[in-house]
């Protein structure tokens, strides 16, 4: 063998060194091929052709509106100078290939290190361009993401909710002032907020400009030193906020919770009179006052609930996956299935199916499961179970395949029966890898179940994607925090269990 290699190396190039170089300028790599380095030449040819092809594609992509290559090239260089750098590197590579061919033909043991550096460099720069990598943009605009990032990183303002109570005091206003109006007097409980207006009747403002009747509005028993809004309620129970001069009117109560102000009956397009010749409106003072201790927010509660759902989603799919994959793993183990052609066929078929299932992502399985059983955690469980069966089936069967046959033989030799042999020689050997793989899968399943909700498979991912779409980054931050905490705890627990068992 070694002699053969030597004779190949000693054979001179088919053509003189200078000619190999020149030939390589015609077709990159051709020189190597003729200098008895066919494979290297072929690789270089393919490398050069693909790099040049990629460059042409990027040029035409950068200047797709131009017609003709020269125009395209000029425009592309103008827009993206990096394309020029790539061109330079490619030209250098082209020349280096020719030079290397010359060296190879002249002296069999020439180093091609620089050549390969250029090969790698040309693809790296191409990758830079195709990946549209622009560190300058990151440096310039990166800080724009900071407010958002801060909300995600520290979302706990939204973890608490301060319960609020709406304090309303209202008074009736008759429009226009009419005799014999029957307005039932208001009954105000002791301590409840109330409002009075004088007079308690008047005319609407007119659209042209004439102001309506000015009323003196007095309120009491509100929360002290707090903003109060004024609202009108017309005769058909339409509510609208009182504006004056285009601005919403607000008043701050004094330290006793009282206020006094003038209000002007606003303009309203609805006919006031109806059949009775008058309408009864209400003017209200509304206060949003926070009462009592802060409580956990709805977002936090939802996150906790969905996180629990997520953990159980991962757990259930792992349990189902383990239960179903254990029998599968036995028929997917070569050492157990090599008895005859029939079992071998089963082994091959099962292995192939497992590989196909495993190569399809759980997210895709989730979409399929949703079609079958609708949105919700069950779809997620189905998806993760299917994927777990395939993954665990393969891992388990490999564990079974790799058991040491020695102890099995030794236990058999003591006169033990089949069950005793399995119990004493097989189980102790497969328990550690099974436990290890199961925990590993549980880990994966919980992590996957956090994202499987994004396609509708239940769990916290569903909330997360909703909140991100609603630009509610604080709530999304809460969800992300819970995911991170859960995954960290899970990581710790799984490594602890693994240490115990393995």
């Amino acid at each position: 063998m070694s002699q053969k290699v030597q004779t190949v190396e000693e054979k001179p190039s088919l053509v003189p060194p200078v000619l190999t170089g020149l030939l390589s300028l015609v077709v990159p790599g051709l020189g190597h091929m003729l200098a008895r380095q066919f494979r290297k030449g072929l690789v270089l040819l393919l490398v050069f052709l693909s790099a040049a092809g990629l460059w042409i594609w990027r040029v035409s992509d950068a200047a797709r509106r131009e017609v003709g290559f020269t125009a395209m090239f000029k425009k592309a260089i103008q827009l993206q100078p990096i394309l020029l750098i790539i061109l330079v590197v490619l030209v250098l590579l082209y020349l280096l290939i020719a030079y290397d061919a010359y060296k190879v033909a002249a002296k069999a043991k020439a180093s091609s290190f620089l050549l390969w550096v250029f090969v790698v460099a040309s693809f790296f720069i191409l990758g830079w361009q195709i990946g549209e990598i622009r560190p300058a943009v990151l440096v310039r605009d990166g800080k724009n993401s900071l407010p958002l990032l801060m909300r995600v990183l520290w979302p706990w303002e939204k973890a608490l909710y301060y319960p609020e109570e709406l304090l309303i005091g209202s008074a009736d206003v008759v429009i226009p002032c009419t005799e014999n109006v029957e307005v039932p007097p208001r009954v105000v409980e002791e301590g409840d907020p109330y409002v009075t207006v004088t007079p308690n009747c008047g005319d609407l403002s007119e659209i042209a400009g004439a102001e309506g009747t000015k009323l003196r509005m007095v309120g009491s028993n509100f929360a002290p030193n707090d903003e109060t809004e004024i609202w009108w309620v017309d005769q058909v129970r339409n509510e609208f906020r009182y504006r004056y001069g285009g601005e919403y009117v607000k008043i701050v109560t004094d330290e006793n919770g009282s206020f006094e102000m003038d209000v002007i009956i606003p303009y309203r397009v609805i006919p006031t009179t109806g059949g009775k010749g008058y309408a009864v409106w209400q003017v209200e003072a509304r206060q949003v006052a926070s009462v009592g201790e802060p409580v956990l927010s709805e977002e936090l509660k939802l996150s906790v609930e969905k996180m629990i759902e997520t953990i159980f989603l991962g757990m259930m799919s792992t349990v189902f996956g383990v239960i179903l994959s254990i029998p599968v793993s036995f028929i997917a183990s070569r050492n157990l299935m090599s008895a005859n052609w029939f079992t071998k066929t089963i082994y091959m078929v099962v292995r192939t199916i497992l590989n196909i299932i495993r190569s399809i992502e759980s997210l895709v399985w989730a979409v399929i499961a949703i079609i079958a059983v609708g949105l919700g955690p069950f779809a997620g469980i189905l998806a993760l179970t299917v994927h777990s069966i395939a993954a665990l089936g393969k891992l388990y069967s490999e564990a079974i395949e790799s058991i040491d046959h020695g102890p099995v033989e030794a236990i058999q030799a003591t006169g033990a029966n089949w069950l005793q042999t399995v119990w004493y020689a097989v189980i102790p050997q497969i328990v550690p890898p099974f436990v290890s793989f199961t925990i590993y899968r549980w880990d994966i399943n919980v992590r996957m179940s956090t994202v499987i909700g994004m396609v509708g498979g239940g769990g916290i991912g569903y909330l997360l994607i909703q909140w991100i779409r609603l630009l509610d980054y604080r709530s999304a931050g809460i969800a992300i925090w819970f995911i991170a905490i859960t995954v960290a705890i899970l990581d710790y627990v799984s490594s602890e269990i693994r240490n115990r068992f393995v």
């Binding site: 030794a410 003591t414 004493y424 020689a425």
Partner: protein, 273 residues
């Protein structure tokens, strides 16, 4: 008495491991089987306790044909034949005690053994076996925490639990250093001499063979090419040696009786116990 008659084993892939092997082992014998790797030593030993089913031939043990046994009868036969392995074949993750107790499985009801309920007599027996092998203080360690020599002693203790009449030892010292090799073989020798257990043991080093065996058979390509008593093995001629190990084999040293053989898978090393 163990009588092997015309034993032939042909594997599924067509390999002929044993070819018409016949010999007799009287009780209380320390029979050593020698031969190159692949000469059929392991297959022969495994045929005797039916870990491998022979293709043809008979194995008569006290008049009972082992090759014809099935099911419970086979297991009852196996529990009287201990086996010691080159790689010890302990269940590495189980404790020494569990490994030793496993030797009793052939005598224990399935359910009780699976729930680890061995009776008091068995536990006492295990203690005795551990004590005899000098590994009492290792009882609660995991088997893989032990050194090679200790593991092989656990392996012997396991066979002792079977109260065997015959022990098959498949190159029991091939993975051990020379000092340990002697120690293990001395244990086997004491079982042979004091307890009257018949031992069939495959070995590589001729000096060990000459030191411990009471009789020897040589296998080559699955055929018995040499049969001798202790006296004869001490006077093994070059021709006999080459008939076992092949024409290209060379004996280390020149004087018969104090010679180690060189073979393919172990560096021929002169050993003095």
């Amino acid at each position: 008495m163990l009588e092997i008659r015309n034993l032939t084993k042909i594997y599924d892939d067509g390999t002929v491991a044993l070819r018409n092997v016949s010999f007799t082992v009287p009780d209380r014998e320390f029979l050593v089987v020698i031969g190159l790797s692949g000469s059929g030593k392991s297959t022969l030993l495994r045929c005797i306790n039916r870990l491998i089913d022979p293709t043809e031939g008979q194995i008569l043990w006290d008049g009972v044909d082992i090759t014809a046994l099935k099911g419970d009868d086979l297991r009852r036969m196996r529990r009287q034949i201990g086996m010691v392995f080159q790689q010890f074949n302990l269940v590495k993750r189980s404790t020494v005690m569990t490994n030793v107790m496993a030797g009793r499985l052939g005598y224990s009801p399935t359910w009780r053994s699976i729930t680890n309920q061995f009776d008091e007599a068995d536990r006492k027996r295990a203690q005795t076996a551990l004590k005899r092998m000098g590994i009492t203080d290792q009882a609660n360690k995991r088997a893989d925490e032990l050194s090679g020599g200790q593991q092989q002693r656990v392996g012997i203790a396991r066979t002792l639990m079977q109260e065997p009449k015959l022990i098959l030892a498949d190159e029991p010292v091939a993975s051990l250093d020379p000092v340990l090799a002697h120690s293990i073989l001395q244990h086997l020798e004491s079982l042979n001499r004091e307890d009257g257990i018949t031992i069939i043991c495959s070995l590589h080093y001729l000096d060990l063979v000459q030191r411990y065996s009471t009789s020897v058979i040589g296998l080559r390509d699955g055929q018995v090419v040499y049969q001798g008593t202790k006296k004869q093995i001490l006077r093994m001629t070059d021709a006999e040696f080459k008939s076992i190990y092949g024409e290209e084999a060379e004996r280390m040293g020149g004087i018969s009786g104090d010679i180690a053989a060189d073979d393919e898978d172990s560096a021929g090393e002169e050993v003095t116990g």
